[in-house]
Symmetry: C2
Subunit: 173 residues, 2 copies
């Protein structure tokens, strides 16, 4: 399937509601545990998505479209959420993510990007040249990846509870 | 985390709404593709979840709690949805799944299961003896596994679109 802005926005605009339906008011016994050392809980993941809305997708889009000579992206801090989410509830994070996503999609639509603009390039600090289309495709896959991860982290809390069914449940392995 | 009925129901009762938020009215270009031969699309997965509500979880629970001498479960048909979902829209399937889940959770709560009952056993045709608690834990993990799968199937549609980012996106591998 080829990237298409309208089709991508169908997914991007649902993510906050999907996460809200999944996690809002869910007891912390589901939202705080992770998968073990150096892994993320559902709470951590929402913080990471917030940071992406603030520092990644639209910022990099605007840099690619800008007149800047140097189009090298700022490195993205994958651990920023541990400080930024401190003292907050998951409900607060879900509200914040939704507000940021709505605003970012408003800005994205307003850009009214052409096929030519989607081919423009930025420079990723680790990956080298990337097109705007690749960045925007990555935004969609990144959402889906983290919804999948939240499901897996929650599922693993019952790893010891399913008995012999573990062999049929790929998500636990 | 140890299985607990109230805590498990928190997840089970959200699943229809999570899937609705994710997939209701989503264009079929997202809901019909799968991951390749012998894999399932989001549409197929909702059909499979429907079949589970009809033939698996509550039926097996009731068999375990029954006075039957033979507590061997009927084998579950993992391919039934291909026939049963024919000609239906994903919206119809989502509505059907929600109605069945609401009714099954009503029945589950009404059983008012004790810790002793959760230790009762049934016989899985392939896995042998399993407890009611393991069956009910499996129900939760099964939901989460399929939400994760839906995310992965959708993400894979953009596998060729993300360019060099593929190496950072574990869900595409």
């Amino acid at each position: 399937m080829q990237y298409n802005l309208t089709q991508a926005i169908h997914v991007l605009e649902r993510t906050p509601a999907v996460l809200r339906t999944y996690l809002y008011d869910l007891p912390t016994e589901w939202t705080s545990p992770n998968e073990g050392p150096d892994t993320w809980s559902p709470f951590d993941i929402i913080g990471h998505l917030i940071h992406g809305e603030q520092e990644d997708w639209l910022k990099r889009t605007n840099l690619i479209l800008s007149d800047n000579e140097d189009k090298t992206f700022e490195p993205f801090d994958r651990f920023a959420q541990f400080e930024l989410s401190k003292g907050k509830t998951i409900n607060e994070l879900l509200d914040k993510f939704e507000a940021l996503r709505i605003e970012n999609l408003r800005q994205l639509k307003e850009l009214n990007l052409s096929e030519e603009q989607l081919q423009l390039k930025g420079r990723h600090p680790a990956l080298g040249d990337v097109t705007l289309k690749e960045l925007l495709s990555c935004w969609v896959v990144h959402d889906l990846g983290h919804i999948s991860q939240i499901s897996r982290v929650m599922a693993k809390q019952y790893k010891a509870e399913v008995g012999p069914w573990i062999q049929f449940l790929g998500i636990l392995r």
